[in-house]
């Protein structure tokens, strides 16, 4: 079983049997989607999964999932634990029903049964239960983590960190095997949302933090606001941006880029905005504008045109001055006199560990390998396991 969240899947490996994972959410952020995504990912894998609702009717829950393109009714392995209908006095047709949701022992009973009978139980609004039953309710929930551990099931809590007492907040973290924080960031000019791994007792990780955005349909995507694509005149930067993007625009005049290329791509759980620069030297002042705040650089070179390599090297130095990760896209590999990646490495005196990916941008060949190589550097460098 996986958690189904980009990057976390890579660093955690799996969500092992018996574990409890808590999404610990800043009240300002729409964070319920994380637990929903974990549940849906595993339904698709064929696991038996249950969703506990205590703040929304079962049909509202199904609609909330539908917002992200997730149809719960398609999966026989899905069941709802209805701890809501009892409040409003309506009849429930769900597999698990808590008749009196304000009665902690009945709630406890039904949830424990769900844990024993499923591979994964997601508590959609754990904080609301604390609000209703009082802070002592945490002790009841501690029993669920034990139940999950004994039954070889898994428990995922969605917990909104309202200003409870510090002891409550600490207890919630302590009782969980893994804690993923979800919050807002204001880093320089990037106003956004992030998630991070606070702890996970089965994986060796130190504080990772990933920007994200919500995509409808789609769910949680790791968000990379800027990857810069640069390189000499005519190397194929615009062709690359268009080949790799789901949608892209260029400001080209007379066949050359005079302002920029902009593209957006959804790839392997990442949502990425790509900025392509002009190549001709007279536009270099714009490079400074475009290059700021980039998280990584893709340098496109024309493999058949080694006279442009010094210019390529100079652009690389200008854009990666602050130690940004970069990869080389060795374009126009279809031309008969194209140099091989290793030949290019030698001629440009590039270090051994820099990926050089052969591509044919005009046919879209290899362009995703370039993206993948850069993402690996971004994840490997920033979110290092060691």
């Amino acid at each position: 079983m996986r958690v189904g969240i980009p990057v976390l899947d890579d660093v955690l490996g799996s969500l092992p049997k018996g574990k409890t994972l808590t999404y610990y959410i800043d009240p300002e952020v729409e964070g319920d989607v994380f637990a929903m995504q974990t549940l849906y990912t595993n339904l698709e894998e064929g696991y038996r999964c249950a969703y506990v609702t205590s703040t929304m009717s079962p049909s509202s829950v199904r609609n909330r999932f539908r917002e992200f393109g997730w149809e719960l009714n398609d999966f026989p392995g899905f069941s709802m634990v209805d701890a809501y209908s009892g409040f409003v006095g309506s009849v429930s047709e769900e597999r698990y029903v808590v008749k009196d949701p304000s009665n902690p022992s009945e709630l406890d009973e039904v949830i424990k049964r769900a844990i024993r009978e499923n591979d994964l139980v997601v508590i959609g609004a754990f904080s609301a239960m604390i609000d209703l039953c009082g802070e002592d309710f945490i002790r009841v929930a501690e029993n669920w983590t034990r139940e999950a551990s004994n039954a070889g099931s898994r428990l995922v809590l969605s917990f909104v960190a309202w200003p409870y007492g510090d002891d409550v907040l600490e207890k919630v973290k302590d009782m969980s095997n893994a804690v993923v924080t979800v919050g807002g960031v204001h880093h320089r000019v990037v106003l956004g949302y992030y998630y991070g791994l606070l702890k996970a007792d089965w994986a060796d990780v130190n504080g990772i933090a990933v920007l994200f955005r919500l995509v409808r349909p789609g769910g949680v995507r790791a968000y990379i606001p800027k990857i810069l694509v640069t390189g000499p005149f005519n190397a194929g930067k615009s062709s690359f941006v268009h080949a790799v993007s789901n949608k892209a625009v260029s400001v080209d005049r007379l066949g050359t880029t005079v302002a920029l290329d902009h593209g957006h791509v959804e790839f392997k759980g990442f949502s990425i905005d790509i900025f392509g620069t002009p190549g001709q030297e007279r536009f270099d002042p714009l490079l400074k504008v475009l290059g700021k705040e980039a998280l990584g650089v893709i340098l496109v070179v024309d493999s058949a045109n080694p006279e442009t390599f010094p210019r390529a090297k100079q652009m690389l130095e200008a854009t990666t001055r602050f130690g940004l990760p970069y990869v080389i896209a060795a374009n126009k590999q279809d031309l008969p006199n194209a140099l091989s990646p290793e030949e290019i490495r030698k001629r440009m005196a590039l270090p051994e560990n820099i990926p050089i990916v052969p591509i044919v941008a005009k046919d879209g060949k290899g362009v995703y390998d370039v993206l993948e190589a850069l993402l690996r550097l971004l994840i490997g460098g920033k979110y290092d396991k060691s």
Binding site: G184, K247, H262, H264, P285, L286, K292, E293
Partner: protein, 123 residues
């Protein structure tokens, strides 16, 4: 407590309520969208990148002429105007007006709003 994002969005909302302004955005100088009040079917990210390049290119062009930094860039078209102006060192403010907009009034409102954005983003 209102978040910074909400405060920025409020500035944009106030701008629109002054009339004549159909859409607006706050964009970082390097082309990332910070906040927007734009209809869903506009590609806001691409629009942000273009606007930053436009203002950046205009600033480079005029300073090459030794004329200093321009106050704003105005793009006129039959279906309205696009006006981009700096809002401190980190961001810029851009609006789209309807074709009949009173330019003087819009510029006045824009000036006030850009000051607010500048303050909110710390200069």
């Amino acid at each position: 407590m209102t978040s910074l994002r909400e405060m920025l969005e409020n500035v944009l909302r106030d701008l629109k309520s002054a009339g004549d302004i159909e859409a607006s955005a706050i964009v970082s100088r390097d082309g990332l969208l910070i906040a927007a009040d734009i209809s869903q079917n506009v590609n806001a990210e691409a629009f942000a990148a273009m606007t930053a390049t436009m203002l950046g290119a205009a600033e480079t062009a005029t300073s090459e002429l030794g004329k200093g930094i321009p106050d704003r860039v105005i793009v006129e078209g039959k279906s309205g105007k696009i006006i981009a102006t700096g809002a401190g060192s980190k961001a810029l403010l851009v609006v789209m007006t309807n074709p009949k907009a009173n330019l003087g009034l819009v510029l006045l409102e824009l000036g006030k709003a850009s000051e607010k954005v500048k303050e909110l983003l710390g200069g």
